[in-house]
Symmetry: C2
Subunit: 210 residues, 2 copies
């Protein structure tokens, strides 16, 4: 037998992962049974364990895939720019586009919302992955913002902005009126605006101090 669902030459393991990501996003990891998944792929439930040792392994793989896909897109977008400011804008834009893109959306939703279902060891691994990314992004912020931002302030603004973006997974509707590019543009502008908080308040504070 060759392939039921996708006649192309895409490995079964890959098909399972994609389907798993979709189901996990729709119903949550815990509410998706191995029978659901097997059925969606066109297998018997037991046959899944020919490709993965445990259901948990599938979850971890889906999450890692999400991280890899998103961080690659962002890294590429940043690398294409030559000034700190342009890199920051590219980061914001590309991150939202990556998050919500059809290729990435399912994986990222699982990564961000089914974190608690990972066993401690894998949770630590995925968490490490995540902080690495966050540090990379804070570096881009640091590079663009004025020097008098403290580390704590940088962290706060990054949590604010990336929180806003991650949350978009909850409400974004691909069949809406606005295109993904328009959305990314507007989010980028709001994000840049949020990064400019201190440009005025800080001046006021300086005045107060003198």
């Amino acid at each position: 037998m060759v392939e039921a669902e996708t006649p192309e030459l895409v490995p079964q393991r890959e098909v399972i992962l994609r389907t798993a990501a979709r189901l996990f996003r729709e119903k949550g990891y815990e509410r998706t049974t191995v029978r659901d998944l097997a059925n969606a792929v066109g297998l018997q439930s037991g046959s899944l364990f020919h490709h993965f040792a445990t259901k948990t392994e599938i979850l971890a793989e889906v999450m890692k895939r999400g991280l890899d896909l998103a961080s690659e897109q962002v890294a590429d977008a940043i690398a294409a720019e030559s000034t700190p400011d342009a890199r920051l804008k590219a980061m914001f834009r590309s991150y939202l586009k990556a998050l919500l893109s059809p290729e990435c959306r399912d994986y990222m939703t699982v990564l961000l919302y089914d974190f608690r279902s990972l066993p401690p060891d894998l949770a630590r691994e995925v968490h490490g992955y995540r902080t690495t990314q966050e540090n990379r992004w804070r570096a881009v912020l640091r590079e663009s913002l004025s020097d008098d931002w403290s580390d704590a302030e940088i962290r706060l603004v990054s949590q604010f902005v990336f929180g806003a973006m991650c949350w978009s997974l909850q409400w974004y509707n691909p069949s809406g009126t606005a295109t993904l590019d328009e959305l990314a543009e507007q989010f980028m502008q709001m994000a840049m605006s949020a990064c400019r908080v201190n440009d005025c308040t800080r001046e006021e504070a300086a005045k107060d101090r003198t």
Copy 2:
């Protein structure tokens, strides 16, 4: 027998709800068994069903409680202000403070992150609740922002800002250095800043058009 955990006169049903909210936040609804919950309260698992008909009912109750608590605090904060701008600021500040407050945090986390575990009918009910709130908040935004903001733009900025706040439930650590008040102040400023996107870009667009 009177009361094991809390000697005060707080109804057992209330104790169960509080404990459930805490456990659901920590482990997720699906991964929390009725035995876990009963044990944490000091009961046998079957005894829970003397107070609630199903596990689902507990979840729904926890979520409604979260919505009620948060929206009450925000409503009070808004009512205390007299100008549109002050009301907007009060809304941002009070929402973050409500979200992260010890009394509310568990409930809200469950509300925002275990949505998929609700059966369709209850999901619709809670969803209705949520959109009512959102509309109320958009009205406050509308009142404060300049008239040339479209409905779509208002919706976008509200999704951006409230997304950023909701996400704080994921990373906020009550034992951190910054107080909740400081955090709320800084978030409010970033939120206000994000609302001011158009103040400059729009002018540019206007110039382009003429």
